[in-house]
């Protein structure tokens, strides 16, 4: 029997919610057979993508909605982080390590996400928003995974 699960989160574009998104997605991901270090990677990726939505997408406006979807399909987790903020003109350019448009940032958010996850896709339309789609496969499910 193939295991599927689905979680959608929507929250205000407040910095305090970055930690909330990390906690919720990690609790969801923990249903798969990830190592502690892989769960830390997932937290890291969520943190970068949600921070970007707040800082860059919404430019710090506190009451816009950040959307996060997490889906489990058998042994793979897909995470989508989406904002309907200012969008990205040139996605190729912003993916370069070190590229940043905000003061005292490293320009490494996307590099981190790519290190932490198996696949990363960034879709964006200027003025319409940005969607970051990430996947990460887990180890095979243990026999007793559901038995507690």
């Amino acid at each position: 029997m193939d295991y599927h699960n689905f979680l959608r989160l929507e929250f205000y574009s407040l910095p305090v919610n970055v930690g909330l998104a990390r906690v919720a997605v990690a609790a969801f991901a923990a249903q798969l057979n990830y190592t502690v270090s892989e769960l830390d990677d997932i937290k890291g990726a969520v943190s970068e993508a949600v921070s970007n939505a707040i800082i860059h997408g919404y430019e710090g406006a506190p009451d816009r909605l950040v959307k996060v979807v997490a889906m489990i399909r058998v042994d793979e987790l897909e995470i989508i982080v989406e904002d309907s903020g200012k969008g990205i003109q040139n996605v190729e350019e912003v993916l370069q390590p070190g590229f940043t448009t905000a003061g005292e940032r490293l320009g490494l958010g996307f590099s981190f996400i790519r290190s932490f996850m198996d696949t990363t896709d960034v879709q964006s339309a200027p003025g319409r928003g940005t969607r970051v789609i990430m996947t990460k496969r887990a180890g095979p499910r243990e026999e007793h995974a559901d038995a507690n």
């Binding site: 970055v18 930690g19 270090s37 943190s47 005292e104 940032r105 490293l106």
Partner: protein
Amino acid sequence: MLDLECQGQTLIARLAGELDLQVADDLRARLDEALDQTGAANLVLNLEKVSFMDSSCLGVILGRYKRVAGNQGEMAFVAAPPRVRRVLELSGLFRIGKEFPNEKAALANLGQEVG
């Protein structure tokens, strides 16, 4: 999130908890204020109690390094847990400061007597 102590020319910042966007501005402001008030040349970051760090706070660390280095000071990292080492390595930030197992070793290396 932050405990500060000055020993001679060195400011020791003991960081704790989840270092992300939520605390980045506050961390920056408090480190700058302490550097202003103490006039310390060097900065030791004790990371032992840090449970999470992402690029928002790594950016703050790089910013403080630039300030300290611009003043001919040095920076050092102490007791980074595995997870924090990982992002320091990924970001290349380990290159901007030496790493020590404890504060004493860091202070000795930065030419300080332990108070």
